[in-house]
Symmetry: C2
Subunit: 347 residues, 2 copies
DNA sequence: TTGAAAGCGCTAACAT
DNA sequence: ATGTTAGCGCTTTCAA
């Protein structure tokens, strides 16, 4: 025989126990100033005694505030996004916010569904890193139409008037290239990434400007179009080494590409960093464990998550409208990490 | 002058538009069989027209079902947990569940707070990987007292009567050790992990049994107590190499330890895998990119997440009570990945 | 097949 | 400082 279903304790139960009213109990539990300390103490004691747990659902429905945000990422399996989520959730917890996660798996449809769930759940804001080839942004625009704050991070779309948090790809690339010059390398090549994605164009631009600052002009033959893979690093390195006047260093758009470069150089017995310098971008963990260790540019992933939450919190709480001409775009420093693969200085 | 606040469309608005009642609209939107197809069509059209979005909060309050689960992990920054979360969220999405994430950052207090939030949010179940040194489980027991289903994954606590999802550490370790024997290594050592954590004891046990299956007895001097660090791998390797009768292979409890072993062997010019075999555990990504590539045991992280969700879903929906003597413990296979560091066979 | 009415548990406006 | 009352938007009896 099933036992009677034990229902959750409510503020009404507490009120009955104390011969007072639900309103007073609610105020006491929310620590409103108008309630006497004595009553608060009584209420809290009764709540503990009855094993009371606040019903956030009811509270949200009545107050119109959910203290919840939605986060949509391509996949938590990629370390980059895991780190960002770590930053977001950490700060959200401090502010008493719950975080609902959805993944797009790079699918436009799932991304749309995720935003839909957020609307239904009445989240107070959305943090999103859009799927690779999302070109239709109607789901985000629809959310914005409902006054739901949105912040993009990393995979940033401009021209939508939506605030963003990203890193200084241009500056990072500039400093990476500059660093190679300072280490005494003279002809510095670049293996680039997909041209249609902004962050890779920015890195190319940073490289180009750094080269121009040292040389009269940019040598276009020192730019190899890659696709972010290890393989494209190997291909690029091969290509460059077979030139009549080969470069003596490569700035790779991304760590995996840089890894390919190093692998290829090893196979050809070109010593790194003595004869050839290499630097990547991303600060993937493996860079610390390969031989030689890989110089790279850190993207401050955790901080990106923290900033993303802080920004949306700001928009939610202060009701600021970072739209139109007032859109706030946070740009985090790209931090150089110099390791063996580019360190030519003799002790 | 602030514009009138545009409130969300409700089923009442739809009902008014169609000259029907909220009840009918609700039934139509939820596709209940008693409503005529014609009415459903009308309602859906009106909903679209008015830009209606279901209010999950109100629905949850009334129905008592939230279609939400809570997940608590130490940190999303660690790739392992990111992968598990990926698996959880993916399946949850398929079932129409929202997932709230909290992190403990290995702090017992934050873990407790997380569970508290879950209770307030009235999640229908909790998936948890407990903080390293959580010994007080009262917060979980409290949740269970309220009939809230819980499933532990990876960091499994036994004797609490809570269902678990983990991998076969014993079997994985056994096969890793066995593999080294089959590759022709004769004296196989082990660098272990913290003894008070079950999964590491299980790996030690798997190693021990595999050795016993090949030798008359276990040589205790071939077991070195490590702490999961790269450094302990180096220390262990040094220790073993300086024995008068050194081993010719090491099964390391974890990939970072194995990495330390390989680093130390390189420094001492011991060739891997020719003179010395190494295998780790975890399938960390760097293992694929170091030289030599690292043999290891994969933990099926994504699948672990999927199974964890499926299990809790089962408990929620079917109201099964996997408690007391009926606790279900899912054990996933540990999958060997043989790479260069243990591959001695000549072509 | 649809309507009427009640109420989930809380908070907020208004009253005292 | 506390009580009264109403209602957030939905689902779910019960009735027709």
């Amino acid at each position: 025989m099933p036992s009677k279903i034990k229902k959750d304790t409510t503020i009404k139960d507490i009120a009955n126990l104390l011969k007072t009213t639900p309103a007073t109990v609610s105020r006491a539990l929310n620590d409103l100033p108008e309630i006497s300390d004595q009553m608060k103490k009584q209420v809290r004691a009764a709540a503990r005694k009855l094993d009371y747990e606040k019903n956030k659902i009811a509270s949200s429905l009545r107050s119109g505030r959910t203290k919840t945000i939605g986060v949509i990422i391509p996949t938590a399996e990629q370390n980059f996004f895991g780190s960002v989520v770590h930053g977001i959730v950490d700060v959200a917890e401090m502010y008493g916010y719950d975080v609902i996660i959805h993944q797009s798996n790079e699918s436009h449809l799932l991304e749309k569904k995720g935003v839909q769930s957020f609307l239904a759940a009445r989240v107070e804001g959305i943090l999103a890193s859009v799927a690779k080839d999302t070109v239709d942004f109607s789901h985000f625009l629809q959310a914005r139409k409902k006054k739901l704050p949105i912040v993009f991070f990393d995979r940033v779309m401009e021209d939508l008037g939506i605030p963003t948090v990203g890193i200084d790809d241009y500056g990072g690339a500039y400093r990476a290239t500059e660093h190679l010059f300072q280490q005494g390398y003279r002809r510095i090549a670049h293996i680039s990434g997909p041209k249609d994605i902004k962050i890779f164009r920015e890195r190319l631009r940073g490289y180009s400007d750094a080269v121009k600052a040292h040389k009269k002009k940019l040598d276009e033959t020192l730019i190899f179009q890659g696709d972010l893979s290890i393989e494209s690093g190997k291909l690029g390195a091969s290509h460059f080494l077979e030139m009549k006047d080969p470069p003596d260093a490569i700035f790779a758009v991304e760590d995996f590409t840089a890894l390919g470069v190093i692998k290829e150089l090893k196979e050809r017995n070109v010593s790194v960093p003595d004869k050839f310098g290499v630097i990547g971008f991303c600060n993937e963990m493996f860079g610390l464990h390969i031989t030689p260790t890989l110089s790279t540019i850190d993207q401050q992933t955790v901080e990106m998550g923290r900033e993303a939450f802080r920004l949306i919190y700001d928009i939610i709480v202060k009701g600021k409208k970072y739209r139109g001409n007032h859109v706030k775009n946070i740009v985090l420093d790209a931090i150089p990490i110099y390791r063996q693969s580019s360190n030519r200085q003799k002790p």
